[in-house]
């Protein structure tokens, strides 16, 4: 190796255990009754077992696997939303998760107010948002509607606004659950280009997709999760070929 690559993320021996209570109803009465009668049963279930991998600066890491392999769980653990049962994750940079667009939107507020609310939720600061506001507006093409409450927006308009806010930063680590192509054809092209630009711009990207062609196109390394464990990890081509078989 010619140059030492900078470690951005280190996932060390992470396990995630879920306790599935038999038909948990979230009711105080039932919990108390079943606790007293000794019927409080748990079925334990590991979504992830001893998963370890490292991500270096500039990597575009693809995570592949079947449904229920633990892809979303590992993304949630990496972004800090969930705490792993065992193991730990070291992060060396700020993370912007793009797990679901517009989850912080409030339908009663105007588009402009939502830009600031959603931006704050994603961890941007005030000065940054003020300086980028025009760019967000420009990209979302919502000039005439920005002062209207969000409940009057079409779903396409909401997605356009959400995408524009989420991609205005250059984060050190970007977490993407499926490539985000939203809106009409024109906007899809634009958003795809924006994603490509983000991913090629030296940002470290973690990328989950079912589309192997996309993975091959974008990633340099791939982790294949199967039933909560790392089945194979390595260079993109190698893992993708193995996955296909």
């Amino acid at each position: 190796m010619a140059e030492e690559k900078q470690l951005m993320l280190s996932i060390q021996d992470v396990s995630m255990r879920f306790r599935k209570e038999e038909d948990h109803s979230g009711s105080l009465k039932e919990t108390v009754i079943s606790a007293f009668s000794g019927k409080l049963k748990f079925t334990e279930f590991y979504a992830l077992t001893h998963v370890s991998f490292d991500v270096y600066k500039g990597d575009v890491l693809g995570i592949i696997g079947r449904n229920g392999a633990g892809k979303s769980t590992i993304l949630k653990i990496i972004s800090g939303i969930m705490k792993p049962t065992e193991g730990k994750v070291d992060r060396y940079g700020n993370i912007v998760p793009m797990l679901e667009l517009g989850s912080g939107f409030d339908m009663d507020l105007s588009g402009q107010e939502n830009v600031f609310l959603n931006g704050a939720i994603l961890g941007y600061d005030k000065e940054f948002l003020h300086s980028k506001y025009d760019e967000i507006l420009e990209f979302s093409e919502l000039h005439d509607f920005i002062n209207m409450p969000l409940r009057n927006y079409s779903s396409g308009m909401i997605m356009r606004l959400a995408f524009s806010i989420a991609t205005v930063v250059k984060p050190e680590i970007l977490i993407v659950d499926e490539i985000l192509a939203v809106g009409d054809e024109n906007f899809q092209r634009k958003s795809r280009a924006r994603m490509m630009e983000l991913m090629s711009g030296g940002t470290t990207v973690l990328f989950v997709s079912h589309d192997l062609n996309q993975i091959r196109e974008m990633c340099n390394r791939v982790v294949w999760l199967d039933g909560g464990t790392v089945r194979l990890q390595g260079p993109c081509k190698e893992v993708c070929d193995a996955y296909r078989l």
Binding site: F18, G26, S27, K76, I81, I95, E100, L109, E113, L117
Partner: protein
């Protein structure tokens, strides 16, 4: 970790401290001069206490600067850094809650003034004229209004913050944000309403006073202390209720009942002297353990008796506030990692 501007923090801290000292000194001037502590006139201790606390503040700021330069761990520094980092988010969430509350109403924030007033008129007519409960309470209308404003504030804060985690489930499962922020912002946005409802309270008192010889005194300067103490209590309550709510949705219905019970158990429409008249002095003793009684009494002393509450009252209120705050905080901290599994 972002480096925060400790100089600015220091300036703000000094400014807050100075304001507090000025408000307290002017507002509680008579008490400071008349009260004695362990046989020593309080007036002698007071200047010393002010200097001592400012010295403590100075050394703590110095410690923080030292911790920042050396990179050592410090709970205070960590708290400040977190606050600095999420300041904008807190601001936005508070704004959202406040805007949403009156967004689609014609009168908007004016309802914050109007609501306690209307409540007071209804309750005044019902309890004073129809049922004749007023007893021997002087200035019953103002007595009632103090109680209503404080109770509504508490009820609003606790109910709002109880739902703060469950109603923000969409955010909590998608983005990492310290979860303490949600109940705290709910209390903050509800506290704007409490502060706004102080305006009709003072206004009505002033107008009422013109005809009945009840004038606002400089003790009004002490109102912020009473409100702050109650808000700390509310934050503790919010931590407690919101974390329970995640695991048991029953809490919402249970709280509806408990808060109604609590309201009637608190001397809002009646007064403790009625217990005494009926010979139920044990009820008077029980009320000493009701935090809301103390917070409401705090405000009433300021407005109706036109003087600072006794220093022991400050102590009792502070003990309740910090007690519940710490209890709620540690409980919240213990279970917060499990929220995501139940949302």
């Amino acid at each position: 970790m972002t480096n925060i501007d400790l100089k600015r923090v220091g300036k703000v801290a000094c400014l807050i401290y100075l304001t507090a000292v000025v408000l307290f000194t002017v507002g509680a001037w008579d008490r400071i001069f008349s009260a004695s502590l362990f046989g020593v006139r309080f007036a002698w201790i007071y200047p010393g206490a002010v200097v001592l606390i400012s010295l403590l503040l100075y050394f703590y700021l110095k410690h923080l600067r030292h911790a920042q330069e050396k990179g050592t761990k410090s709970a205070g520094l960590f708290f400040l850094q977190t606050m600095h980092r999420y300041r904008f988010l807190i601001e936005q969430l508070v704004q959202r809650d406040f805007k949403i509350k009156y967004k689609r109403s014609v009168l908007g924030a004016f309802w914050s003034f109007l609501n306690p007033l209307l409540m007071m008129i209804v309750q005044y007519v019902v309890f004073s004229h129809l049922l004749g409960i007023r007893g021997n309470v002087e200035h019953y209308a103002i007595y009632l209004l103090c109680g209503i404003v404080m109770w509504n504030g508490f009820n609003d804060c606790s109910t709002q913050s109880m739902r703060s985690i469950t109603s923000n489930a969409a955010l909590i499962t998608k983005v990492y944000v310290p979860k303490y922020i949600y109940p705290v912002t709910k209390v903050l946005s509800a506290s704007i309403n409490i502060v706004l409802s102080m305006i009709p309270l003072l206004l009505v008192t002033a107008i009422y006073g013109l005809f009945n010889g009840l004038y606002l005194s400089k003790a009004v300067l002490l109102l912020p202390f009473g409100l702050l103490l109650m808000l700390i209590f509310c934050v503790g309550m919010g931590f407690f209720l919101s974390s329970l709510m995640v695991f048991f949705h029953d809490i919402e219905f249970l709280w509806g009942f408990v808060s109604t019970l609590w309201m009637y158990a608190t001397p809002i429409i009646y007064s403790l002297s009625m217990f005494e008249e009926k010979g139920a002095t044990w009820l008077v003793k029980v009320e000493q353990f009701n935090p809301l009684y103390h917070y409401i009494q705090f405000i009433r002393t300021i407005i109706l008796e036109r003087q600072s509450p006794a220093f022991s009252e400050y102590g009792i209120c502070l003990a309740f506030s910090l007690g519940l705050f710490l209890l709620g905080f540690f409980m919240f901290r213990k279970v917060q990692d499990k929220f995501i599994l139940y949302l």
